[in-house]
């Protein structure tokens, strides 16, 4: 009898390509989320004004940080959806194992993070164009366009890592909930509990510390390392924890 003996790499590739197509609607959601966030971003984050009898100057600072934050939420939810029973069952319609299923989900989330991060960063141009035409604002172009483009480029990289980090966190949390439904109750309680404990006179908030660990990192290299290692760790934990999970119950 002839048995097919596919390699793990080949099957991951097939599952990944299949998932790109099967989950195409996540990008439609992404567009919606980013447009909404962009709309909210037309509130200037800061502004200053001044002038004399002859001239009046008003400076507004706009940013697309909000778009990136919304994209991170999108990635978080997208990852949780990937861990649900339905999508796990659908993986097992075809050739797979639990590890292949998780790794191809990881590849899919990485792709989604790249798309999400880059598009989030690019909305900065859309914002400038709209402000120029509708707001009548004048966009102050930096003197050195090359260094500005480099900034946007690096900004995209950092945005990708932020989005990736959140997606892997979502994937990990989703996996925990699949293992035991009690996590769906416990995790939000822990989250909100941590949100309100400590601070002020007591020890610093745990969540603030975690937040600072990632998002207040001033060294780019260190941030990249922290983000990549944490994302890899979360995916590995998810693979390890879900390796005995039964499907099609």
């Amino acid at each position: 009898m002839y048995l097919a003996k596919p390699t793990i790499g080949k099957v991951i590739k097939k599952q990944f390509i299949y998932k790109l197509k099967a989950n195409l609607e996540v990008y439609a959601t992404l567009v919606g989320v980013q447009l909404f966030a962009l709309l909210l971003s037309f509130n200037a984050v800061a502004g200053s004004g001044g002038g004399n009898n002859f001239i009046n100057i008003r400076t507004n600072y706009y940013s697309v940080d909000l778009v990136i934050i919304f994209t991170m939420f999108w990635a978080f939810i997208t990852a949780i959806i990937l861990t649900t029973k339905t999508s796990r069952n659908e993986d097992f319609n075809f050739v797979t194992t639990r590890m292949i299923s998780n790794l191809s989900n990881g590849c899919f989330l990485l792709t989604a993070s790249i798309v999400g991060g880059v598009t989030a960063m690019l909305t900065t141009f859309m914002q400038k164009i709209i402000l120029f035409f509708i707001g009548g604002d004048i966009f102050l172009l930096p003197e050195n366009v090359t260094s500005y483009m480099l900034e946007v480029f690096m900004g995209s990289g950092v945005a990708i890592l932020h989005v990736l980090l959140l997606s892997m966190l979502g994937y990990f949390i989703g996996t925990l909930v699949q293992l035991n439904k009690i996590f769906a109750v416990v995790l939000p309680i822990v989250f909100f509990g941590l949100l309100f404990t400590g601070g002020q006179n007591g020890p610093p908030l745990v969540l603030t510390q975690i937040f600072q660990f990632f998002f207040s990192e001033t060294s780019l290299v260190l941030f990249v390392l922290k983000a990549i290692l944490s994302a890899a760790l979360l995916l590995n934990l998810s693979i390890y924890l879900s390796n005995r999970l039964e499907v099609r119950l």
Binding site: M1, Y2, L3, A4, K5, P6, I8, V11, K14, I17, Y18, K21, A22, N23, L24, E25, T86, S87, N89, E90, F92, N93, F94, V95, T96, T97, R98, M99, I100, N243, R244, E246, V247, R248
Partner: protein, 303 residues
Amino acid sequence: MNIITFNHVTKEYKNKKAIDNLSFSIEENKITGIIGRNGAGKTTLLKIIAGFFEQSQGEVKVFDETPFNSITVSANCIFIDDQLSFPSTLNLGEILDATGKFYENWDTKLANGLFDYFNLDRHQSHEHLSKGMKSTFNVIIGLASRCPLTLFDEPTTGMDAAVRKDVYRALLKDYITKPRTILISSHHLQEIEDLLEDILLIKDGKAHLHLPVSDMKEYAIGIKGKASVLEKWLENRDILHKSNLGTDSLYVVVRNNFSTTELEKARVSGLILSQVNSSELSVYLTSKTKGGIDDVFSETYNW
């Protein structure tokens, strides 16, 4: 060569044993029917073979590998039931194409041929198909993927009689062109009887009987006659079923280990002997009580 081997396998869910110390093996290129009542453990059994579930105890070997998390088993085995669901973003045509990419032996020609014959439309979505159409589509996937091990769990749910007949015929024809190991679970033994070579009868998670269909026809014998005469014959016999016919007549089904002379004597003493067909027999073998549903009424109302 054995494709599937179960060695004292138990599967527990919350202290209830769905599969209980089950041992059997299935040879290459045979069509085996998994027969049993609702909740007997048929689906659990098939899902363990497919690697969806992990057994609690015992050893399972499929293609000489433990199926749970085995890439070889996954690549060479397909499990078809009416719970199959596909992403709503894909239409039927795209699902067929996607499936074809995963299975090496996929037969596009066969898939398209069956697809057209059963009047399916490539642009339809899977979730909006009727129950019977969904099952038909799933069977097409099961056949066209041509996996060395094909598992059908109640494949004909919701199909009308004509389609059921066609599906079974397609299955048999395809099996003849490309022999492979096929397991079918069904309530309708009658319908698949002609298709099967072997029967694995399951009762309460245990293998009750595993034998060729041809032997099943001679496994038991039905005897009808006066209760007084019949009682004498039934001493030390393995009674599978017993029901009253009128006030003093009985119909019993017993294990057929009579000699020819004994049977001749029975006929002379006025007993009517009859063959028990395999679907009738499987009902008796898997029933919890000897008298079937009649027992409930006789105990409740003292009939």
